[in-house]
């Protein structure tokens, strides 16, 4: 297990830099999910974040994805401190610069697979959403299932659709939170294979939170997050 930033990244320019990032969930007994962590991820790098449940993996991905804000510290993505962005710019950041793949797929049940994939690009007012979605659905081998609803798909198919949705905006940063956690080993392996392939093809930086050692072995680098700290 290497320490964060210790191993050489494929590209010298850092895509994601976290400096003394903490996240505390308030309450009667405040929970420290992340405790002043530092992390640098290079552009195009595949970083696996491993560790036990409750260790802070998902929290870290949520902060980098801009769907939550840190309690302290800074997170820079492409040189921009996303923690200091106003809400409107943070929304645009989520829309354009980052794609997220969740453990429970999080496809919108009332939209078809095609509509789910088109959605982020449509939210941005892009006219070519249908073309981009068609291309990506072909890439993840779901062309035939494009008009199905999520509940008509298998778990593996749903996750492939989620990957296509994560990439449709042309984001250079893809975050995957336990993407195989809900899949059997065969489908899990296929999804990991797909993530790795598209990452290479598109030069995407991939942060993968996982329990799975085989998944972590595919990464360029692995870090372990335990009790909110890198070990």
């Amino acid at each position: 297990m290497s320490s964060p930033g210790a191993r050489a990244a494929p590209s010298s320019a850092p895509a994601v830099v976290c400096e003394r990032v903490s996240k505390v969930y308030p309450g009667a007994r405040p929970v420290v999910a992340l405790d002043a962590i530092d992390l640098a991820v290079s552009a195009g790098e595949f970083l696996a974040i491993v560790g036990p449940s409750g260790g802070g993996k998902s929290t870290l991905l949520h902060l980098v994805a801009g769907i939550d804000r840190s309690t302290s510290g800074s997170i820079r993505v492409g040189g921009r401190d996303i923690g200091s962005l106003p809400e409107s710019e943070l929304t645009l950041y989520r829309r354009r610069e980052v794609g997220v793949v969740f453990q429970f797929f999080n496809l919108l049940p009332h939209l078809t697979v095609r509509e789910n994939v088109e959605l982020p690009r449509l939210l941005d007012g892009k006219k070519d959403a249908a073309v981009a979605a068609r291309e990506l659905l072909g890439r993840v081998d779901l062309t035939e299932r494009a008009d199905a609803h999520p509940y008509e798909l298998s778990g593996g198919e749903m996750q492939r659709a989620a990957i296509a949705r994560g990439l449709v905006t042309g984001a250079r940063l893809l975050l995957a939170d336990e993407p195989t956690g809900n899949l059997d080993s065969r489908h899990g392996e296929q999804v990991l294979e797909l993530l790795d392939e598209v990452r290479r093809e598109r030069g995407v930086t991939l942060l993968l939170a996982t329990h799975s050692q085989p998944a972590a072995r595919r990464a360029d680098r692995t870090v372990e997050l335990r009790d909110g700290r890198f070990s």
Partner: protein, 855 residues
């Protein structure tokens, strides 16, 4: 048992405690429905109870009552003296007058025989206290007032009470004050009691009483006594069980109560749909949990029972909250209803609030039953699906999708049955099959709603996406995707709006028909009626001498003395008998005949041949037509007449037999006049004639003099006033339904929190999400409006073509008021949009991290 407790905690109490707002939403849905039901039921019951209470106060303890076609002549009372051996009896004169103290209030006048009264009715004198002073009560022109009425108007013992009664102004003296019990409760306590002679003078019934109440001693057979009384009575008089008068009183304002009942049922139905909506949402939301429990081996019965418990608990909590809201709403509804009843139907009637017990129970039953029924189907459905697919998101919608086409077939079948039932005849004068047809249209609407929701979503998908971009696309996806939830909300709104559109169309058709009828039937230039104060209806009648007096006024060409009174046919069925001078009818027209013949010639022939005209409600109610025979109980006994024609009439839904005045005087010997129509001489303007008559009657008769134009306006004003309540009730139903849409959307926003969180995570702005929810609300309103137009057309056809003619005997020329219908639809669309504001704000405020952390 412990296992079931866990199931209950997993499905019901646990989620409720964790998400109290979610748990509260169905309760709010139930509460809205229950509040509406309680309020309408209370207003309706108050009207019926007030009429019955008044009738009971007058009937007292009587077992039998003697009545006559023209009342009971005083000499006939002599024949009842034998009754002293087996009981007692007391005569009663009743009528009404206008209080001339500036309030214009209408009071009931009851004349009794003080000596005989005690055996039949209770009357407790609270003042004066001494026997000597009480003796003065017997002097003529002295009246007793209920103490509450006296204190409200500032009357004390010795006060002079100014009255307009029987067409003359007079004064009576307060001789005593009554406790508000027994007879003093008649007309809600707004009445005065006096001796028979004074009452007869005040209401113009000298020589007659209206009824004689008979109380039999214990052990005396009522049947035997009745037979004996009947044997001794002269022709034209009859003896009836006393309870019948109370029942008849309860039938007063039948049309109006029908109106309330129809709208009350509508609100109840809308309320039930709201309950179903709210509870179905909560059941559907927990399908994954049900599936998990099923996969762990929980029995179907346990799951079903858990939801049944929840349905009852939601019903109970919502009912409790709804009852509180209902008490507030009931005051508003009652105030509107009582105003209309006393100003239009029964001037002397005072509507007071009935007890809340029955409405509370009825609303509680409606709330509990509908909650239970609402939970039944989703719970059964949820327990039937196999666990694995049910754990997936959207599985509820999948179930609904498969069942759409059988629904379409069911809807078509329901409409065919509705068409068949609409052709059936009424049962005992009540359009049961017509109502069943309305219910079937509602069933068809409920069945077809999911199809309409999906069609609405699909047909607007491209358009909304083009206009509103991603928000439009999301809106159609949300709307079409949540079939189960949206279909129930759309059904409730479509039903309320459909019924509202139908009522608007029906009322517009009625108004237009009435307007045309008023123009063709009110042909006199000037009308003279007894002074009626604040009341819209005629109060009391006029003395016979008013007719020659009016004929002597310069400028008067002819006077038609019109008489309207209650009567009965050969079978004792109540109807209205009217008398008019057919010579005036033959000269000026009026009484427009349904078959289009000239009413002037018909009137002339009827006068000559001693035939009668009958109103349309009479013809429908008694199944009579031109050439048939109409029977009437008269003081001279039962008489039969050939029907010369059927005329359009909206003055009474009981049915009227119209006689020439000479025939009426011959049979009834009643010279009094209800109102008089006056024809002006050539060259005399109606306004001028009215001035002349007013100047002539001043100081002699207490009458209202109006021109034909004013009377027509008055008739239409009363019509509009009557239907103001209808409009208010329609408004309540629509507001309740729009609240239902809001409730469904709030529930939906809370339920789709994760989806909204995900959308925010994917970069959707708050504005985009808010717009999507608003557009979804607009779609719900739009689809409901389209469905409502179709359902409304069916409802209107049934109301105008089946229910109204079968209930009241009135037929209307259909008229579609496009402007008002469009305004109602636009209001609902705007209200639906407004209903999306709060859920839109909730959805837009979703914190993506928190929402996505929920699994």
């Amino acid at each position: 048992m412990n296992g079931f407790r866990l199931v209950l905690r997993a499905l019901v109490t646990g989620p409720g405690r964790r998400r109290p707002i979610r748990a509260l939403l169905p309760v709010v849905g139930v509460a809205i429905g229950v509040a509406a039901v309680a309020a309408i039921h209370h207003a309706n019951r108050s009207v019926i109870e007030s009429f019955r209470e008044s009738a009971r106060a007058v009937a007292g303890r009587s077992d039998l009552v003697v009545v006559g076609a023209r009342g009971v002549p005083l000499d006939a009372i002599e024949r009842l003296r034998f009754l002293w051996r087996i009981g007692s009896f007391a005569p009663l004169v009743s009528g009404s007058a206008v209080l001339d103290d500036g309030t214009g209030e209408v009071v009931s006048i009851l004349g009794t025989d003080y000596g005989a009264e005690g055996a039949v009715r209770d009357m407790r004198l609270v003042a004066p206290a001494t026997g000597a002073e009480r003796a003065r009560l017997l002097s003529s022109g002295t009246v007793l007032l209920p103490i509450s009425f006296a204190s409200r108007h500032g009357f004390r013992i010795g006060s002079r009470v100014p009255l307009s009664s029987g067409g003359v102004r007079t004064q009576v003296t307060v001789g005593g004050l009554l406790a508000l019990s027994g007879l003093a409760r008649a007309a809600g306590g707004d009445m005065l009691v006096t001796d028979l002679f004074t009452a007869g003078r005040l209401v113009g019934k000298s020589g007659f009483v209206d009824r004689v109440d008979v109380v039999l001693d214990a052990g005396v057979s009522a049947d035997a006594a009745r037979r004996e009384i009947a044997r001794r009575l002269p022709p034209g008089l009859s003896v009836e069980p006393a309870g019948r008068a109370a029942v008849e009183a309860g039938r007063m304002a039948r049309a109006f109560r029908f109106n309330l009942n129809a709208l009350g049922s509508l609100t109840l139905l809308v309320g039930m749909f709201l309950v179903a909506n709210a509870v179905s949402i909560s059941v559907l939301r927990r399908r994954p949990e049900i599936a998990t429990l099923r996969s762990l081996g929980t029995s179907r019965a346990s799951i079903f029972t858990a939801f049944a418990v929840e349905g009852l608990a939601v019903g109970a909590a919502g009912t409790l909250a709804g009852e509180v809201g209902g008490l507030v709403l009931a005051r508003i509804a009652l105030s509107a209803v009582s105003g209309t009843v006393s100003s239009v139907y029964a001037p002397a009637a005072k509507i007071s609030a009935a007890g809340f017990g029955a409405p509370v129970l009825a609303a509680a039953a409606a709330g509990a039953l509908s909650s239970f029924l609402a939970v039944l189907l989703p719970a059964v459905e949820a327990t039937r699906v196999s666990p694995a697919p049910a754990m997936r998101p959207g599985s509820a919608e999948q179930v609904r999708r498969r069942r759409l086409w059988p629904r379409a077939a069911g809807a078509a079948l329901a409409l065919v049955f509705a068409a068949v039932l609409s052709r059936a005849k009424p049962v005992a004068g009540f359009p049961y099959f017509g109502f069943a047809a309305v219910a079937l249209v509602v069933v068809a609407l409920a069945l077809v709603s999911p199809i309409a929701v999906r069609a609405g979503a699909e047909s607007t998908r491209l358009l909304l996406a083009r206009i509103f971009g991603p928000a439009g696309r999301l809106a159609t996806a949300f709307f079409g995707g949540s079939l189960a939830r949206n279909a129930v909300a759309v059904t409730a709104l479509a039903m309320a709006l459909g019924m509202t559109l139908a009522m608007i169309t029906t009322v517009a058709s009625m108004r237009e028909t009435v307007r045309t009828w008023v123009e063709s039937s009110l042909r006199a230039d000037v009308w003279v009626r007894p002074a009626s104060g604040r009341a819209g209806a005629v109060v009391g009648d006029l003395p016979a001498e008013v007719v020659p007096f009016l004929q002597s006024v310069p400028g008067v060409a002819a006077v038609d003395p019109i008489r309207v009174r209650e009567a009965s046919d050969a079978s004792g069925r109540a109807l209205t008998v009217g008398a008019s001078d057919f010579r005036v009818l033959a000269r000026a027209g009026g009484a427009p005949l349904l078959d289009g013949r000239d009413s002037r010639k018909t009137a002339e022939a009827a006068r000559r041949d001693r035939e009668v005209l009958v109103s349309e409600p009479y013809a429908r109610r008694f199944g009579a037509s031109r050439g048939d025979i109409a029977s009437l109980q008269t003081p001279k006994g039962l008489r039969s007449f050939r029907i010369a024609g059927v005329y359009r009439d909206f003055t009474s839904d009981r049915g009227t037999v119209l006689l020439d005045r000479s025939l009426y005087l011959d049979l009834f010997g009643d010279t009094r006049v209800t109102s008089a129509g006056i024809l002006a001489r050539e060259g005399i303007w109606p306004d001028d004639l009215r001035r002349r008559i007013r100047a002539a009657v001043h100081g002699r008769f207490a009458v209202d003099v109006t021109t034909n134009r004013e009377l027509r306006r008055q008739v239409l004003r009363i019509f509009d006033h009557t239907f103001a309540v209808t409009r208010a009730l329609e408004g309540i139903a629509v507001v309740v339904a729009v609240l239902g849409i809001a409730n469904a959307l709030v529930a939906s926003a809370v339920e789709r929190r994760r989806s909204f969180g995900l959308l925010r995570a994917l970069g959707a702005t708050r504005r985009q999400i808010r717009s999507a929810v608003l557009l979804e609300a607009l779609l719900a309103g739009g689809v409901a409006t389209v469905a409502a137009v179709a359902a409304g057309a069916a409802f209107a056809a049934l109301l105008i073509g089946v229910i109204n003619p079968q209930s009241f005997g009135w037929s209307f020329v259909p008229r579609v008021p496009i402007g008002r219908l469009a305004a109602a639809a636009a209001f609902v669309l705007l209200a639906s949009l407004a209903a999306g504001l709060v859920p839109g704000r909730i959805a837009a405020a979703t914190d993506p991290a928190a929402a996505l952390s929920e699994e």
